[in-house]
């Protein structure tokens, strides 16, 4: 039943994308909150794997649906961002950059959500014989 497994992998990847978008959103919100905090350095959420690499891994390891939830819960780490110009107070948060990050994350999240919803709809359609 390779098709079903493939489905699981895609759905797990979509779940991951949502988790990552949430993490990015939160870290950017934290940066914005500290827009005027002296010596605060901009942080960024980092993830161990890019999505595609993760897809491969998921494909091989997922054997049933119950593993998906746990695979989506890899805790993201944060790191300071290099190369941003500091202001006089040692703070290097750029308002536009953070707002852009947040908007992007929101878009990513929305896309994943739509795709996942569509998947669920398809499955429901099949179960209910098209009704």
């Amino acid at each position: 039943m390779s098709d079903i497994n493939n489905d699981s992998a895609i759905m797990a990847a979509l779940g991951r994308q949502m988790t990552q978008a949430v993490a990015k959103q939160a870290v950017a919100a934290g940066n914005l909150a500290n827009l005027d905090t002296p010596n605060y350095r901009t942080r960024e959420a980092t993830f161990d794997d890019v999505l595609n690499g993760e897809m491969q891994k998921v494909k091989m390891t997922i054997t049933d649906q119950h593993q998906i939830a746990s695979s989506a819960q890899s805790t993201p780490k944060t790191a300071e961002v290099d190369g941003l110009e500091s202001r006089r107070d040692g703070n290097n948060v750029q308002l536009d950059r953070e707002l852009l990050t947040m908007t992007k994350a929101a878009a990513d999240f929305a896309a994943a959500q739509q795709a996942l919803s569509a998947k669920f709809r398809l499955i429901r359609f099949a179960i209910n014989e098209g009704r």
Partner: protein, 99 residues
């Protein structure tokens, strides 16, 4: 969805000598077992949905994870109910068959 591992072959349908009430499809290795497996899967997905919602409420889990778990639980329940409906329907069709 959890793959429904090869649906077992039909249990030998006993000739209608036995009373219909005792011939529920609960034979070992038959549909009964497949159904039990599915029901267990439903229960399991329901449990993980509960856990996810609990985690969401206690603040350790994410909202979307909880929603995904709920959707999974709902779908697996729907699938099981549909399969059950089909089984019951098939059983009744067979019972109504003129011999």
């Amino acid at each position: 969805m959890s793959p429904i591992s090869a649906i077992p072959s039909l249990p030998s349908i006993s000739p209608s000598t036995g009373s219909p009430s005792t011939s529920a499809p609960a034979g070992a290795g038959g549909f009964g077992e497949a159904l039990t497996k599915m029901i267990n899967a439903v229960e399991q997905s329901g449990d993980s949905a509960n856990t996810a919602v609990e985690q969401m409420l206690s603040g350790t889990g994410e909202v979307h994870d909880a929603m995904i778990a709920l959707q999974r639980a709902e779908l697996s329940l729907q699938l099981t109910v549909q399969v059950r409906n089909k089984l019951v329907q098939a059983y009744q069709d067979i019972m109504r068959m003129p011999v």
